[in-house]
Symmetry: C2
Subunit: 144 residues, 2 copies
DNA sequence: GGACCATGGTTCGTGCACGAACTATAATCC
DNA sequence: GGATTATAGTTCGTGCACGAACCATGGTCC
């Protein structure tokens, strides 16, 4: 990343700090096998009420499918989710959270809340609002 | 990373986009062996007028020393920098950019500029200012 | 001046993320 | 309906980043 002193560096550092905070929380709560990188997959699966094909996970989490393969394997290995083949299309594999996996919901929400709270600190709602909008703008700018 | 829809997710995505932009630029300019992750090391060395101990690089780039070891090896392998032992303290190794390495200055600056420019888009100077301040605040909040 | 601790670097093992190649199954097209 | 192409997932090799262990060497302390 160029722009060291600049805004890109700031953003990179914030991301790292946020990651570190999540890792700390997970550790403190004694949650094993989960790291910050699993967050998007977990978040997506927590929103589902029925099994979804892995393809849908890939689409949602903005990671390349080989990455998702590994993430899912890890989550499965630790008993947070279950995989099973589709009955109608032998190419597709469905995944769904196990009871243990769904049990993460509360921690997930609390950690998200803790992160946001610490990140924003005492920033006013107006400022938060504006900040998010500016970040939206930046995301848009960068993807053109 | 938890907080998918939230601000942390935004920040993570922006960072990735910024990284991707830098990688694209490097590729387009035919610069080989350099990736975005080398940026901080490069930036630091470009600011130096004489060789510095690796320790100083580690301090500057906020990466663990084993990471810096590898980064420096890569940069050396591609001829961008040179390592040599201290004469007074056999434990320390100095590094300095080669001519080829110093030749990256222009590209480095241009890429930084391009990144900032694309990232900010047409955001007003006032907004940019405020944004950077807010990010500063966030960095501070997260490191308490 | 020898035992002990501190410091600067490297090595090694692990995990995430990527892209390219591969496997297997489906869908299409003639 | 057989060849071709598209789709879903996995595997493999590579690079970054980390922490722990390790090697030298240098400083301290008695």
């Amino acid at each position: 990343m160029a722009d060291i002193g600049g805004i890109a560096g700031q953003i990179a550092r914030i991301r790292e700090q946020a990651n570190a905070l999540v890792e700390r929380e997970l550790h403190e709560r004694g949650i094993k096998g989960i790291v910050a990188a699993h967050g998007p997959v977990l978040a997506f699966l927590l929103r589902q009420s029925k099994p979804v094909p892995i393809k849908a996970v890939v689409k949602s989490v903005r990671r390349v499918k080989s990455t998702v393969t590994v993430t899912i394997r890890t989550l499965e290995k630790h008993g947070y989710l279950r995989k099973f083949p589709s009955e109608t299309d032998a190419r597709v594999t469905y995944v769904e959270l196990t009871t243990k996996g769904r049990g993460l919901r509360k921690d997930f929400e609390e950690i998200s809340r803790a992160l946001r709270s610490k990140l924003y600190g005492n920033m006013s709602p107006k400022d938060r609002e504006r900040l998010v909008q500016q970040l939206d703008k930046i995301e848009e700018n960068l993807s053109e």
